[in-house]
C-alpha cells in the first residue's frame, strides 16, 4: 500500500462519537444483522454531520479530528466505512479502544497528533506520510510531524486490517504445525 496520501482536509472538533457522529449505529443493521463490509458502511460515514460527505469525500482525503476521536461504545463500523472511502485519519487523541479499532479497520492514522487543529483548516490540501508521521499543508506551505503508529501495528494495516492479519496468523500457525 501507499503510505503517503494527498487530499482535502476534513476538519472536525473534539469528542466525535462512534455511534452517531462517525456512523449512526442503527445504519449498521441490515435485516437485523450487522454488516461490516466497508463498501456498504462507507455510504453512511459522517452523514449525521455532513449529509453528502460520502459523495464529496475522495480517496486520499484526510479527516483531521480533535481530542477523543471515536469516543463511546467501541463499535468499529464507522472506522471500517472510513477505510472503505480510502480516507486517512489524524486526531489529537483517541481512546484506547479506538486505537485498537483503527488498526483493526486497516485505517492509516496518526492518532496522537498534538495541536494538529492549529495547523490545518477545513478544505486545506494535505500530504501525509503515515509511515513517517510527516504532514505537509500544501495550502499553507508548512509542515509538521508526530510519531507514526508502531511498525507492528502498521504491518496489520498493511495487510488490510484485523481479519487478513488473523488469516495470516492462522496460516503461519498451521504451517509451523
Amino acid at each position: 500500500m501507499n503510505w503517503t496520501m494527498q487530499g482535502r482536509c476534513w476538519k472536525f472538533g473534539d469528542n466525535l462519537s462512534l455511534d452517531d457522529d462517525i456512523l449512526e449505529f442503527a445504519k449498521v443493521f441490515v435485516g437485523g444483522v450487522r454488516v461490516s463490509d466497508p463498501n456498504y458502511l462507507k455510504k453512511h460515514v459522517f452523514t449525521n454531520m455532513i449529509p453528502d460527505f460520502p459523495e464529496r469525500a475522495k480517496p486520499g482525503d484526510i479527516v483531521v479530528a480533535g481530542k477523543r476521536f471515536g469516543q463511546g461504545n467501541p463499535h468499529i463500523y464507522g472506522l471500517l466505512g472510513m477505510a472503505g472511502l480510502g480516507l486517512g485519519l489524524i486526531a489529537e487523541s483517541v481512546p484506547h479502544f479506538t486505537y485498537r479499532m483503527i488498526v483493526a479497520a486497516g485505517l492509516p492514522s496518526l492518532p496522537f497528533f498534538n495541536d494538529i487543529g492549529a495547523f490545518v483548516e477545513d478544505g486545506d490540501e494535505l500530504r501525509v506520510n503515515f509511515r513517517t508521521g510527516e504532514v505537509e499543508n500544501l495550502s499553507r506551505g508548512v509542515r509538521c510531524e508526530s510519531d507514526p503508529l508502531p511498525g507492528a501495528l502498521r504491518d496489520i494495516i498493511e495487510l488490510g486490517g484485523f481479519l487478513p492479519a488473523l488469516k495470516k496468523r492462522l496460516t503461519d500457525m498451521n504451517t509451523k504445525g
Binding site: 469528542n15 462519537s17 455511534d19 452517531d20 449512526e24 449505529f25 442503527a26 435485516g31 437485523g32 444483522v33 450487522r34 461490516s36 449525521n48 477523543r68 469516543q71 463511546g72 461504545n73 467501541p74 463499535h75 468499529i76 481512546p95 484506547h96 479502544f97 485498537r100 479499532m101 483493526a104 479497520a105 484485523f162 481479519l163 488473523l166 488469516k167 496468523r169 492462522l170 500457525m173
Partner: protein, 419 residues
C-alpha cells in the same frame, strides 16, 4: 513478586509466572462470551478464516439477551440461524431468550468464578469483576478469540480506589459509581483497570459491586474488579457455588494512581445527555418533564436495583402520560421479585415488566423512544439514539431516582419519598 490482581490473573491465563504493565500477552480465555447480535457475524468471520468451530466449544458462552422477543420476521429468522450455528459449533453454555442478561446471570449460576479470565465480545463483561473475575472485551477482534482462544492484549495499569463510609438513605451505589467515574474522568481512566478496596466493601454485596464494575468502561477503562472476599464467599455459598478462591493484589503492587471516596458523602446524581460522564448533582435536572422511565440493563437489573425502585413505587402510581418498563436481569431475579411482592408493586404502579435481558438499552429494543421524548433510565449509556430516536434525550440515574421521577412525571429526588 509484586503484582496487581489484574497482572496475576493475566499471568496465570498466559501461562507466565510474572508479567508487568505494558507487556503484550496472549491470555487464554477461561470463558469466551458472545451475545445474539454477534453470532451470525462471528460465524461468517470464522468461515472466511477457514475455521469450522470455536477453538474450545466447552469454553464458549452464547446467550440471547439483546433481541429477547423478536420484533420482526427478519430478527426471528436471525434467531433461528443463531440456534443452527450454536448447534453446529457444539456450544456447551448456550442460553436462550428469557434466561437473563449475559453480564448478570452467569455469576448467579456459578459460571463465573473469582480469579477467572473472561474474554468477551461485549464491553460490559467488566460486570464479572464483582466476583473477582477479570473481564476483558475485544469487540471486533473477537474472531481471534473464537478461533484460537486468545488475542493480543497489553497488560493494563491499575488504578486503586479506596472506598470508606456507608451510603445515606436514598443514595444508591449507582450514584456513587457515577460520581467516581466523573471524578476520575476519561483521561485518567483510559486503558486502566479500576480495582476497588477499602472498608466500605464489607457493606457492599455482589449486586452493588456490579454497579462499581459496570460504569468505568463507559469512560474508557479496560476493566474493573473487586478482589473476592468473604462477602463473595458467603454469596457463593448461599447459591451452592464452589470454587471460591481469595485473590488480591500483593501489598507492594504498583498502582498507577490511588483515589479515595467516602460513600457517606455521596449524593444522588444524573448523567446529562448525551454522555455518561456528564455527571451532575441531581438538583441540576430536578423538574425536567419525562415521558418514559426504564429500570434495567446490565447496569441496574439485579435484585437490589429492583428493591430500590420498589421501595419508592410501593403504593404509588406512575404519573399520567409516563410509561415505565422494568426488565429484571435474570430468571432468578424475576422469581425473587415475584416471591417478595416486588412484581405486585410494579404492576400496581402501572409499570410494564419485560423479559430478562438487555431491554431498551440495546438501541431501544422492546420500547424505543420517540422523537422529542425524554427518558430517565438506568441504562449504561445516553448517547444520541441509544434508546431509539435520535431526537430523544436520555438522563442516566440510579433505580430510586428513576422510580421517583416516574411517579412525579419529572425528574425527582428519591429522598423526598423516604420521609
Amino acid at each position: 513478586m509484586c503484582m496487581t490482581l489484574t497482572e496475576k490473573i493475566m499471568a496465570r491465563a498466559s501461562g507466565r509466572d510474572e508479567l508487568r504493565t505494558g507487556d503484550i500477552v496472549y491470555p487464554e480465555a477461561d470463558l469466551a462470551t458472545i451475545h445474539d447480535l454477534y453470532v451470525v457475524e462471528a460465524d461468517r468471520q470464522l468461515t472466511e478464516l477457514g475455521v469450522e468451530r470455536p477453538w474450545n466449544p466447552e469454553r464458549v458462552f452464547v446467550c440471547f439477551d439483546h433481541d429477547t422477543i423478536p420484533q420482526t420476521v427478519a430478527v426471528a429468522n436471525r434467531a433461528k440461524k443463531i440456534r443452527e450455528i450454536v448447534k453446529r459449533w457444539g456450544i456447551k453454555h448456550f442460553f436462550g431468550p428469557g434466561r437473563g442478561q449475559g453480564h448478570v446471570f452467569p455469576m448467579e449460576i456459578g459460571l463465573i468464578k473469582p480469579g477467572a479470565c473472561v474474554l468477551a465480545y461485549d464491553i460490559h463483561v467488566t460486570n464479572y469483576g464483582a466476583v473477582g473475575c477479570l473481564g476483558l472485551a475485544l469487540v471486533f477482534e473477537f474472531p481471534a478469540v473464537l478461533a484460537t482462544g486468545s488475542h493480543w492484549l497489553k497488560v493494563p495499569e491499575t488504578i486503586r480506589i479506596d472506598l470508606s463510609g456507608k451510603l445515606q438513605p436514598g443514595v444508591g451505589i449507582r450514584d456513587a459509581a457515577a460520581r467516581i467515574i466523573h471524578e476520575i474522568g476519561p483521561d485518567a481512566a483510559d486503558y486502566r483497570v479500576f480495582e476497588y478496596t477499602g472498608d466500605a466493601l464489607a457493606h457492599l454485596g455482589v449486586d452493588a459491586r456490579v454497579k462499581l464494575c459496570n460504569l468505568p468502561i463507559e469512560i474508557g477503562a479496560k476493566s474493573a474488579i473487586v478482589p473476592a472476599d468473604e462477602v463473595v464467599a458467603a454469596w457463593m455459598r448461599e447459591r451452592n457455588i464452589g470454587g471460591f478462591e481469595a485473590m488480591r493484589s500483593d501489598p507492594d503492587a504498583e498502582f498507577a494512581e490511588t483515589y479515595e471516596f467516602d460513600l457517606s458523602a455521596m449524593e444522588p446524581v444524573v448523567a446529562l445527555p448525551p454522555r455518561p460522564e456528564n455527571v451532575a448533582p441531581l438538583g441540576e435536572a430536578i423538574g425536567v418533564p419525562i415521558h418514559a422511565a426504564y429500570l434495567g440493563s446490565c447496569a441496574a437489573d439485579q435484585y437490589e436495583d429492583m428493591a430500590e425502585a420498589a421501595e419508592i413505587l410501593r403504593g404509588k402510581k406512575l404519573a399520567p402520560g409516563v410509561r415505565m418498563i422494568v426488565t429484571p436481569g435474570s430468571r432468578e431475579v424475576l422469581a425473587r421479585c415475584v416471591e417478595d411482592g416486588l412484581m405486585d408493586v410494579f404492576c400496581e404502579a402501572g409499570a410494564m415488566v419485560g423479559p430478562p435481558g438487555c431491554g431498551p438499552c440495546a438501541i431501544g429494543r422492546g420500547g424505543p423512544l420517540a422523537d422529542g421524548e425524554t427518558c430517565i433510565a438506568t441504562v449504561t449509556r445516553n448517547d444520541v439514539g441509544r434508546m431509539g430516536s435520535r431526537e430523544a434525550r436520555i438522563y442516566l440515574a440510579g433505580a430510586a431516582t428513576v422510580a421517583a421521577s416516574a411517579v412525579r412525571g419529572e425528574i425527582a429526588d428519591p429522598r423526598d419519598f423516604l420521609a
